[in-house]
Symmetry: C2
DNA sequence: GATTAATTTAGGTATAAACTAAAATATTGT
DNA sequence: ACAATATTTTAGTTTATACCTAAATTAATC
């Protein structure tokens, strides 16, 4: 039996593997707000599950088995479909969708997920720009650049905002930094200084500046 | 903390109180597929909860406190809104909605429930004809008669089908016995014999006959 | 090679929700 | 009224999940 906590770990592992080569016990512990020893325990449980969901070697971090990856993709599909559904059809703001989706994603059936996917036109990305695995559990992929690495003078389109923090979404939303919006990079101060850019919000472009840490949450496509 | 099991008990108690004067340990045990001793335990827990959710005296069954009733109404509201939502907007058949709603009703927020209620036009009854508590948790009420008590020759409108069994819904659905449909009672055989009636399905009325036990699941309004 | 950091082991705690068996209490029939 | 039967409660276990702490081990770094 797959428990709620197992789902939670698989979801977190998938997300961390997107940004980290290797997912360590302590990293997982930190993101899940749990002690490292607890993670070791659960990770071993998932590796010894029938069928095994993780590959795990002491002190080497974890990776998915085929089965584990499928499960993680399924939960992520459900989660992100729910987020988009809440945002587009139930009029939730994009900083509120995560919590509600988090409570729902492990209880809805595949049928339910497929039905709301149908209503939404089988979307590939949710309201944060996070990719949604297809019905066949294939994750869409694209090449995006973080605003921490973008060059001065570039024109680009915001494609994704990666964060766990609702306040970050709220902040960026108010500045007009949402997927689909066009921005022009004006200047970057050295030593991890602020980034200034032109945001095409409404009819008039607005100039804003972003601190280095948040700018890492914004992924864009260069045009 | 209100747990899932507590929700489950409160929901069951509310439903049973609709049909039974007094809800006994053994009745609850039977409907929940649990041993009577386990029910006693949980019922005591609910009665000693802060605030108390049930009134409970040994050997006398249970009744709700104000708080407990509110909680039960809230879950029932969520459950029935979900059922109607699944049926009307996601195209689930009326025999499939219960299971999905049952898994979702304890995780959705009040906000979510209110939003889907809005989409549905703040309905008073779900697809089985079960009443849906309002936003203020007031349960709509109406006077209905079971087909076990209906007189021969009467014209009536089906208003509600009460059952826990998906097969009953499937069976009655195929016969055209769904809320809103007009029927005319033709004959009732004595000794709990079959009931024959005319069902206005489509343009031509169809004659069907129902056994005594199922006929008790069908509630109608006389016209 | 010693110090520090990360990870794992072992054993324990907490909580929730069941269960069984025996005792206590009600209900029913004669 | 009282015995027989049925229901309900008590008390003590059981199972399961998911955490924790403290100590031991292993890996990484200077």
């Amino acid at each position: 039996m797959i428990t709620e906590a197992m789902d939670k770990y698989l979801k977190a592992i998938y997300r961390l593997l997107e940004e980290h080569e290797r997912v360590s016990t302590s990293l997982l512990a930190e993101t899940l707000s749990v002690k490292p020893a607890s993670v070791t325990n659960m990770v071993q449980k998932l590796a010894h599950y029938d069928p095994p969901l993780l590959e795990y070697e002491s002190h080497r971090g974890v990776s998915f088995t085929e089965e584990g990856k499928k499960l993680a993709l399924r939960i992520l599909r459900h989660h992100r479909l729910l987020e988009l559904y809440l945002h587009d059809l139930l009029d939730y703001s994009w900083d509120k969708v995560h919590d509600e989706a988090d409570r729902m994603d492990h209880v809805i059936s595949i049928e339910f997920a497929d039905k709301i996917a149908g209503l939404l036109g089988d979307p590939q990305y949710d309201c944060h720009g996070d990719p949604i695995p297809s019905r066949e559990l294939v994750m869409p992929s694209r090449d995006l650049t973080s605003l921490q690495e973008i060059g001065t003078g570039k024109d680009c389109i915001v494609r994704r905002v990666r964060s766990q923090d609702p306040d970050v979404f709220k902040y960026l939303g108010e500045k007009g930094i949402v997927p689909g919006v066009e921005v022009k990079i004006l200047n970057r101060e050295p030593f991890e200084g602020p980034l200034t850019m032109l945001v095409h919000k409404g009819d008039h472009p607005i100039e804003i500046s972003l601190g280095y840490p948040v700018s890492g949450s914004v992924l864009v496509e260069e045009i």
